[in-house]
Amino acid sequence: MAKANIESKKRTTILLTIFALVILMLFGRMFYWQVIKATDLQKKAYTQQTKSRVISPKRGTIYDRNGEVLARSISVETVSVTPKNIKDKETAAKGLSEILELDYESVLTKVNKNTSEEIIAKKLDKEVTDKVRVWISENKIKGINIYEDTKRYYPKGAFLSHVLGFCGTDNQGLEGLEAKYESVLKGVAGQLTIGTDATGAELPLNDERYIPPEDGLNLILTIDEVIQHKAEKYLEQALVDNSPVEYGTCIIMNPQNGDILAMAVAPDYDPNDPFTINDDTLAAKWSEMSGSERSKALQEMWKNRAISDTYEPGSVFKTITSAIAIEEKYVNNVDTVQFNCTGSLKIEGWEIKCWRSYNPHGTQSLRKGLMNSCNPVFMSVALKIGKQDFYKYLDAFGISQKTGVDMIGETSGIIHNINDVTDSTLATASFGQGFTLTPLNMLNAICAIANDGKLMQPRIVKEIVDNNGNVVQSNEPKIVKQVVSAETSEMVLDMMQSVVDDGTGRYAQVKGYYVAGKTSTAEQGRGADKKYVASFVGVAPVSNPQVAVIFNLYNPQGPQGHQGGGICAPVVGNILDEVLEYLEVPQDYSYTDDKTNKVTVPDVTNRTVGEAIRILNNAGLKYSVDESDVNAKVVSQIPVQGETLNEKSLVKLYIEGNDIRFTTKVPDVKKLDVVAATKKLADSNLNIKISGSGMSVLQEPAAGTEVEEGTIVRVEFRPVGIDVE
């Protein structure tokens, strides 16, 4: 038996050395992974070994200037599943689809997926998720998660929608201030990280990492909810009264600081449900429309036309032309008769007409020219001014430029380059044709005239505050520049007051206040595409302007025509009347409302007929009841409690057990004076609500409508025989 020889021993030692070297190399390899690549691998491993759930922050609230809530976030819940932890997929899918009213097949698909988590439904009310909770505990189902989330809620529905905008399903702002102030409102998301095994199930004994969310900041707007409401109310009414009409915009500002108090666009939409079209015609064929058609229609609906639609301003712009002429002393005395309207003016071979070419204005002063809205007067003025000075001031007023308001989607309009301006384009520009701007742009320039010549930057967000009420950012009023002198602006305002006192803007008069204003009936497009924008700008009170309103109706084709002085001025008058009263602006002169006493309807329901009769008699109202038993109980009354009526108006009572309603057809009360209209309605057992004075031009409800006796019919009266442009 041979023993291991020397060579064998040598080779055995070599073997040992090889082993040692290989192990050393392996150690080097492990060192590489565990020291050099450790951080990288740990990071990747951690990502794989954990699942993170985003904890949504609470989105900031949007308030009006008085703290009224316009948009807020409410708690809702999300239901998700961890598919691998669900044993009986069919039962789970069936239960979830039934409780959440979802399609069974689509839920089943999600439950069967090979992912760590699938969202089943979002934005669920707690009532619904509580049902899920009960069902989970009753059936001992595993793998279903419920967690808190938030949803954007607009408590006032379709209110201020074009300004506020709305949020998408992930609470991200998509339009309006929600989009503009997204970074401020959204807050910072938190995160909950949980360790999981490879199947997505949570690990035992694993520490969770929780990063709390930071709530979003709140916006306080310059908008006044009450004023906004008035603007919307009158705008919607005007759309009805002037139907057919495309749309309307109304902006109300405080000229002294550039605050936007109201900005209304009609038709509006409900930001709680922004993907439902507001147009009946489109809604009817919605299902047949293509995706891009739908999206286009929705974009149109969401568009804030007060800042993104441009139009030719028309005669309202004569105020600006006047200001330039006075400031640069092209007209030294506005009351000197120095112009002559022959119905048109021939410039560069173009016969440019006055709106009243059928009955030329004749000799005119600048003031008269503005009061009559006479085009030849302003063409002559503009030609005097010349394009250099004219454009210098257009630039100073910011015409056809963005105002820089802190809103999304503002456009600038189009204006001729100064080098391309000829006498004829200059002449037409003098009365607001041949260039475009936005309603906000126009109003802001007017505001400069109402603010001693100082152009302000319009603002809509006053402050950004945190949840403890600390002001994080305050947007102070910002003067852009002094455009014209205080004297010039005072003079223009005075001329504008003449427009309302005794010119084309008389329908905008407000009892107790001096109102400055200017009408506009602006042509949009030429030839067959020609449409009109009826517009009125009003400022009040003239002595210390606090409110400036622009009210535009696009392509109105209703029975009242399309003239700004006819259809917009009275509305602005009504708005100013209500807003000045609401703001408690001191009257310029003492005025108490008309002679007939007003009575507020008392509540007589749940009283006996006897008592009701006594109360109504004491209030100065008449009554009508189909019951002789004075002890019978009154269950309803028309009009209801709180309505304001003229003295001796009728209240119709209905008693318990006898609910036969008395109806009547509304008579036609148009083209009557106040007395005749009141009598005609009273003969039909109806009540009247009067606005304005003169001849009735509008009634609501319309003639022939079947209504209950006692119903209030709103009738609008206008002075007769006024040129309204």
Binding site: M1, K3, S8, T12, L15, Q34, K37, Q49
Partner: protein, 376 residues
């Protein structure tokens, strides 16, 4: 016969104490391995068996049995394997390997037919073959050590034998066992003094052959090379090795703590088997890795020492064979787990779960220990 009797008696009289160094290293490795099986298998065990200790307690029972077997074997004179027993073991092992391949007899798991079973007991004949190969080759070579220097009569018969075994194993298929078998055989032939002028060209032919075989099929080449960049196929072939590297990397210098591995939660499939070293690296860090490597280093050092001091060439070759078998399995296993060589399932000796394999392992340590009793 008479002569043999005398020899055995004389040797018993010269019998010395066994190598306690080796014994202690093996017992430490075994205890360490049991702890790791418990830690690595607990979540898997809970999930599949409803009880965290299922695999650990089974492994413990086999470990106790293995120690008993090891002690018994360490008292059996290794020289009795030299004679007919070596032939019987080899023929028996080959027959068992053939039996595995007979449809209906072999047991298939994960597309590989490697097991034979009798009732609840299952084992891999390839495990037995490793020992048989060591004993058979050592016995034949030591009979006439100079013959190994001859090419046709010395080397070629062993090459043919390895070829037959390799074909049988590759039909299962069982790549890792084939590789281990080859390394064992090469180590024995090398230590026995085969001519380098013959070994080196043969080695070159083998390497080129293996390369060509691997390269010939795109999918095979991809599997062979995936370890170079496992991220090229994160969801497929690379998945397992990436999970292993996540575990290793997560361990860092000192580990996440015993029992605190996250990767054992189903990220590494069957974490107590071939990839147990990754879990160890995660829980105990580079420090634990170093300890394991030192322990295997000590084991190899003791094994080689025993080989050098063995009283005869048979003892030397058997000691080298067993040391190589255990050492190379440890190295291959650690290399696979650390993405240092192509991915193939190789259990880490003393650590990976597997009862029969553990008993065989300890039995072969028993042989080694017995050789140590006879050292000069």
């Amino acid at each position: 016969m008479e002569k043999k009797e005398t020899e055995l008696t004389t040797n018993r009289s010269k019998r010395k104490a066994l190598d306690y160094g080796l014994l202690i290293v093996v017992l430490i490795l075994l205890a360490f391995g049991l702890v790791m099986v418990l830690s690595a298998s607990a979540p898997y065990s809970l999930r599949t068996e409803g009880n965290s200790y299922f695999y650990a307690s089974k492994q413990l029972r086999f470990a106790i049995l293995g120690i008993v077997v090891m002690l018994v074997v360490s008292n059996i004179d290794y020289r009795i394997y030299k004679g007919r027993l070596a032939d019987i073991a080899m023929i028996g092992s080959i027959l068992l390997l053939i039996a595995v391949l007979i449809p209906g007899v072999g047991i298939t798991r994960n597309d590989a037919t490697r097991w034979l079973g009798f009732g609840g007991f299952q084992f891999q004949p390839s495990e037995l073959m490793k020992i048989s190969l060591i004993i058979f080759m050592s016995a034949k070579i030591s009979k006439n050590p100079r013959k190994i220097k001859k090419f046709w009569t010395g080397l070629v018969p062993y090459l043919l034998l390895i070829g037959v075994i390799a074909v049988l194993l590759l039909m299962e298929p069982h790549m890792s066992a084939t590789m281990i078998m080859a390394v064992i055989a090469i180590a024995i032939i090398f230590a026995a003094g085969a001519k380098m002028s013959q070994l080196l060209p043969l080695g070159a032919v083998g390497v080129v052959g293996a390369f060509v075989l691997a390269r010939i099929e795109t999918y095979r080449w991809k599997r062979v090379t995936i370890f170079l960049d496992p991220w090229q196929d994160v969801q497929g072939d690379g998945w397992q090795i990436i999970q292993s590297l996540y575990a290793i990397g997560s361990g860092g210098l000192f580990g996440v703590g015993l029992g605190k591995s996250v990767q054992k939660y189903m990220y590494i499939p069957e974490p107590h088997n071939d990839f147990i070293f990754a879990i160890l690296a995660e829980e105990l860090g580079l420090a634990g890795v170093l300890l394991v490597m030192v322990l295997f280093g000590l084991f190899i050092w003791r094994g080689i020492t025993i080989a050098l001091k063995a009283p005869d060439m048979f003892g030397t070759l058997v000691a080298i064979g067993i040391t190589t078998m255990i050492g190379i399995q440890a190295i291959f296993s650690m290399a696979v787990v650390s993405s240092s060589m192509p991915v193939t399932g190789i259990p880490l000796p003393f650590f990976s779960y597997g009862g029969t394999a553990l008993v065989m392992l300890l039995a072969s340590v028993g042989v080694l220990l017995n050789i140590s009793r006879h050292t000069r």
